[in-house]
Symmetry: C2
Subunit: 427 residues, 2 copies
């Protein structure tokens, strides 16, 4: 598709919106300012209307009236919502997904557990492998875990657009490797790793895989069980629309869970929680990776976000994500390339997630001015990337076309060079 | 005070309520069923009206409208609320308290950090000390940390009513001890440890103290700075009324924080979070013990709970807690002792927190029947304890008198022996 003008782009967008089978889902989200174009669903997803209502009901009735008695049903919710999340979005059969803690803490728990087991089996196996474009928390946590075991975090260079090279990755995974940990969709470039291929490569080398699904869950098809993934973590405040700092989740393959022990044995992971006995006897299955008291507001918001995605169907969500990002990339080629923008996300739709990264030397002031002056919310990622994440459930094609218009208008007028541009946010 | 009859108890309660300087705070909480007597504020505190409103506003406006732009102010909230909590309730100057994660995870982070430092300084110092009546999560986590360092968790026997014996505790703290970790107020008995004396004893032995303040914060006077405490953690869903699974907090003494490293180096603890550089460079101060993205609903609920307690003043809250538990104990002696109940909490008010534990061979069915049939919510703790926690801000003396009436009526009628008693909850 080539689009010759602003008018043609808007007409194309209108046609795409008219035939969008998920169009009705846009109205399932709270929108106070119809002029605001929100393309940062890859950072913090919009608020579903149902979530606002259910949280109010939870606070007022379950906490306010039910009080401590509500734990009777709350206590099972992290595992129940984990099961629903696993079935709807992760390709995980029941009993393998738990909503708990943050991505950082879950990644730590699973990496430590994997290393404990690896070293006990083979003391020479204490290397973790990741790539240099992985999310900061992942690299920091994996490095700390490696150091604790006197091991090494082996960091494979990544292509800044296409992600880790499969051959270089395979070359790094020798008999000394315990865990290969990658993001399924890269936070900056949006590049999607081949989960099945990496799982197979790691298994052949005797290593476990530990996936970060934060930018993948709710945006692309994931089949943890089917591709033979071992371990995974992910956040819920992006495409799962569960709100700022909502709890994360973790996945432990069924036949692996009873062979792993959490490094942080909390009372919510005890087989008989209220026996409060002298020693820790863990639950079977993924439940043993719980720690302290889970946030019921958080778990409930995850539940609503998952229900919404399940209703839409992840196949349809993925199809719209491909179409939205393809439309966006076409418009960038046509109208933003002349202004110095470069697509820094794979052009092959099967190799990317649901956000698009654009490289521009002035990406940071442009991002700030877009937010502060133009009513277009994307985000900046160092050193020179503008990320635009048109979350499939809450974004219309018209939003994408209008956003590009506003970028063109801003940059052509030099609006990002004005002093007030710095008033915007880049969080 | 001796009370001869039900009528005299109600009259005494009415007089106490009439002169209660905190009486007006009872109406600051949501109460849907005025017949329900809620004496489980030591497990899950009641919902403050202001919290319900502020959470709705946060969801609808800050998340729903502000979207990712709200991180501009959200990002500082865990430290800001930590400072307010420290000032109002913990005796902690700014920069030492952070709202984050769960008690379990925070205890793990601080115990690991303390052991890392201890072993680096003196490889022979790898013992942790606690007592056998400490909360399960604390014992489980401390044992796991000790095991990871090839050390030992030295468990001092506790008196089931009065808590750890100071002499036995001191005898256990030799030159091989890195950390002494106790609950300030014991979860079951309500016994309060002498924080100043334990801090001094530990310091003299070259060990750090790590306090669990979960049952103490918001119920008793705490002076972490003044008594020379080193490290502390605590929950917010009890007397801080922040709701089910609200985030916990941690305290690290100012001059200690830069000498300790978190075992879980997450991106929220990085000195320049959005530089996302190749290596982890931690924040100075307590902020380095952050991990992943904090729950903004949770942190905000903590803020409201702390503001309410700060408005009442912890001295007044403590005075009412002493008066309520004294009144309760008097009534137990007078009316429940003949039915086989025994006070299993220190009678010296300076040695207990704000809840009272009663031993009874049939405590579990009695607790279930009280909840299911009599509209009195307390909780059961193994093996034979009924805990009654009249949270000072949300409880009237009349609630205590009426609760005792209902216990007498239930047990005299044998209501707890009926089959339907098991329909109640003991969470």
């Amino acid at each position: 598709m080539t689009i010759g003008s602003e008018d043609r782009a808007l007409a194309t967008a209108a046609a795409l919106d008219a035939s969008d089978p998920l169009a009705r889902f846009v109205d399932r989200f709270v929108v106070d300012d119809p002029e605001l174009i929100y393309l940062d669903g890859n950072s913090l997803g919009r608020l579903p209307r149902a979530t606002a209502e259910r949280l109010a009901e939870l606070v007022r009735t379950e906490w306010g009236s039910g009080l401590v008695r509500s734990w009777e049903h709350w206590i099972d919710l992290p595992a129940e919502v984990g099961d629903r999340l696993g079935a709807a979005l992760l390709g995980a059969a029941p009993g393998q997904v738990l909503v708990a803690d943050s991505v950082t803490v879950n990644l730590y728990k699973l990496a430590m557990a994997a290393l404990d087991r690896a070293v006990a089996t083979d003391p020479a196996r204490r290397v973790l492998v990741t790539d240099d474009d992985n999310f900061p928390t992942d690299r920091y946590v994996l490095a700390a875990v490696a150091a604790r075991f006197g091991g090494e975090l082996r960091i494979v260079p990544s292509d800044p657009v296409h992600g880790p090279d499969p051959e270089r990755l395979a070359a790094a995974v020798g008999p000394d490797v315990a865990v290969v940990s990658l993001s399924h969709v890269a936070y900056r470039s949006g590049a999607m790793a081949d989960m099945a291929a990496v799982n197979e490569m790691a298994r052949a080398a005797g290593a476990l895989t530990l996936w970060d699904l934060s930018h993948a869950a709710g945006s692309v098809m994931i089949d943890l069980d089917g591709t033979g993934a071992d371990l995974a973590v992910g956040c819920t405040y992006k495409y799962l629309n569960a709100g700022p700092g909502a709890p994360a989740y973790l996945y432990v393959r069924r036949d692996l869970s009873d062979r792993l022990a959490s490094p942080i044995p909390g009372w919510f992971a005890a087989a008989d929680q209220f026996a409060m006995g002298p020693t820790f006897d863990p639950l079977g299955g993924v439940g043993r990776f719980a720690a302290g008291t889970p946030s019921m507001l958080g778990v409930t918001a995850v539940d609503e976000g998952v229900r919404l995605l399940a209703e839409a169907g992840i196949e349809s969500v993925r199809a719209k994500g491909v179409a939205l990002t393809s439309f966006l990339i076409d418009l960038v080629d046509d109208r933003l390339a002349p202004l110095g923008f470069e697509v820094a996300t794979p052009r092959d739709a099967t190799r990317r997630g649901a956000h698009v990264s654009l490289a521009h030397p002035e990406a940071q002031p442009i991002c700030e001015a877009l937010i502060g002056q133009a009513g277009v919310v994307g985000d900046f990622r160092a050193p020179d990337r503008l990320r635009l994440g048109p979350a499939p459930l809450s974004t219309r094609y018209a939003h994408v076309a209008e956003a590009i218009d506003r970028v063109v208008a801003l940059v052509e007028a030099g609006g990002h060079l004005a002093p007030e541009a710095s008033a915007g946010s880049d969080h």
